[in-house]
């Protein structure tokens, strides 16, 4: 059974604005589904409908086996929701918030104390448990928000841009926690504007644009759709040697137009072709100065499917490097 299934899901707002326009998707139990889209594409509206915060005006959505429009109470018992803006009361302490959340889910007072303590420990907030949320950093707030979403051990977890605005270390901590949850069997529906996040975490990705799902598949399959890996290289003595180099490269794959003096060629078998290419160039007396194997990215997919780059894509790259460092 699918954990989330929508058929022709739509939401029209006053004034005829159709924020979501017939979305069909299916998320399997135990899957991490990344939902990508630029601001205004309809991803938050979709999440709000799936979490019963907003009524659909068309179509149907089944979450954890229940219809979001016909049985919203049953859906709410099965889902955990961490919202985009980390809707936390700055005047409450972390512990108070978790205990309130437990009460909202019908957990007894005693169990709510125990569960809160366990969750605070799990997300590394034990020492800050009795501090007001207003004194928490962005990363601590997100971790608390995540803990609050887990208080009733949900079957399906909705994370709406859980790491937006976070520093790389905090972002990585959230990723690790989401990965652990998924290993424990929780289905995760993740909206994000960070391509690397979707690439790292998601089993499958859906791309929404203009309220419609324009692409869906595993990150690898989607990247495979937009092209093969390509090699970018420059020579020690480039001038006068370009045409000879291009002739050599053409033996290995389809040459791509050079950009800023960098020669490019598609390589169907990826890194295994680097060695033979260097040898062939060397035999022609061409010395390679630098070489990069470039894999198609989800941004390439995004550009092809929507005609625009995803917000945060450039920031994504920078921060990824920072994580690696």
């Amino acid at each position: 059974m699918a954990a989330i299934e929508t058929h022709d899901l739509a939401r029209e707002f006053e004034g005829g604005i159709r924020a979501v326009d017939g979305v069909d998707l299916s998320v399997a139990e135990g899957e991490i589904y990344g939902f990508l889209g630029p601001n205004g594409a309809g991803k938050t509206t979709t999440v709000r409908m799936l979490t019963t915060l907003l009524q659909p005006t068309g179509g149907r959505a089944i979450v954890a086996g229940y219809d979001v429009a016909k049985d919203p109470g049953a859906v709410r018992r099965k889902i955990g929701v961490a919202l985009q803006e980390a809707a936390l009361d700055p005047l409450m302490t972390g512990r108070e918030l978790l205990e309130l959340q437990a009460t909202l889910h019908g957990i007894s007072k005693r169990d709510s104390h125990d569960k809160s303590r366990w969750l605070l420990d799990r997300v590394g907030l034990t020492l800050a448990a009795d501090r007001r949320v207003g004194t928490y950093s962005g990363g601590m707030r997100r971790r608390l928000d995540l803990a609050a979403a887990l208080v009733h051990t949900p079957e399906v977890l909705f994370l709406d841009e859980p790491t937006t605005g976070l520093d790389p270390v905090s972002r990585k901590a959230i990723w690790e926690e989401v990965g652990k949850l998924n290993q424990e069997g929780t289905t995760v529906f993740l909206t994000t504007q960070y391509l690397e996040e979707a690439d790292q975490l998601a089993d499958r990705v859906g791309i929404i644009s203009g309220g419609r799902l324009v692409a869906e598949g595993t990150p690898q399959a989607l990247k495979g759709e937009v092209g093969r890996p390509h090699l970018e290289l420059s020579l020690v003595e480039q001038e006068g040697n370009e045409s000879r180099a291009e002739a050599v490269l053409a033996r290995f794959g389809r040459p791509l137009p050079a950009r800023d003096g960098v020669l490019m060629v598609e390589v169907a078998r990826g890194s295994s072709e680097i060695g033979p290419i260097i040898v062939a160039l060397d035999q022609e007396g061409l010395e390679v100065e630098s070489l990069d194997l470039v894999q198609p990215s989800l941004d390439d997919v995004f550009v092809q499917k929507t005609g625009q780059h995803l917000e945060g894509a450039s920031e994504d790259t920078d921060e990824t490097e920072a994580v690696v460092e």
Binding site: F13, Q55, V81, E96, L104
Partner: protein, 262 residues
Amino acid sequence: MHTLAANARVVAALGKRSIMQTLRRPQLLAPLIVFPTALLAIQTAGAGRAVDLPGFPDVPNFLSFMLAGSIVQATMFTGNSGAIAFAIDMEMRFTDRLYAAPIARSSVVLGRLAATATLGAIIAIYFLALGLIFGAEIHEGVPAVIWIIALTAASALAFGTIGAAIALRSNNASVVQGIFPLVFVVLFLSDAFFPANLMLEPASWVAKYNPFSFVVNGIRDPIISGWSVTTELKAIAAVVGIGALGFALCAAAMRSRLRRGV
């Protein structure tokens, strides 16, 4: 029954959280205590000789007369502060957290109103204690104290429904804050701080039929003169009427929010 108990537990938890929110946010707490206390002190000190005016109710002192007005004023501020806090919750989308939980949506409003009623009761106790310390007399004694606390709590809840409806409709704390001056207009055009029979027309006519005058007199009579069934029934009717109107407006605002997808 099980569902009722579960709902009651949720309303109590949300009410407790709302009270903490008020106590921890000085800008919400100050209007409930500081302003009405200051106005009571200023009025009592400055207009104390009003009791000598012909037609003024027979009272031991002006403070005894003023007490009911101050309680109702603080109660209205409580409703307003609660509504501001509710609108802040909506602005920061804390209410989304609540709506995404398996609870009745009405529990969110009821939790807020339970807090407002509790704060109303605390305010009644505070002003009655203040009055007794500074020389007011409560004609009907302990039963009157209990009645006044109960009526004040019910009034706070009723006033709170109007504020909650405005918060639900506007989704904006500044808009709710904007109704604050109206509290003074409503109160000065009632029996709260001056007897309606001594006002000039048309203020006197407005004050005579102002439902807030009924509430004020329902609190004032047991303090200054004694029980009057008619007065108390009018007070109850006013509270029920304001509350019913507020609940109807809240329900309409909730339906509108769902429709608009706010």
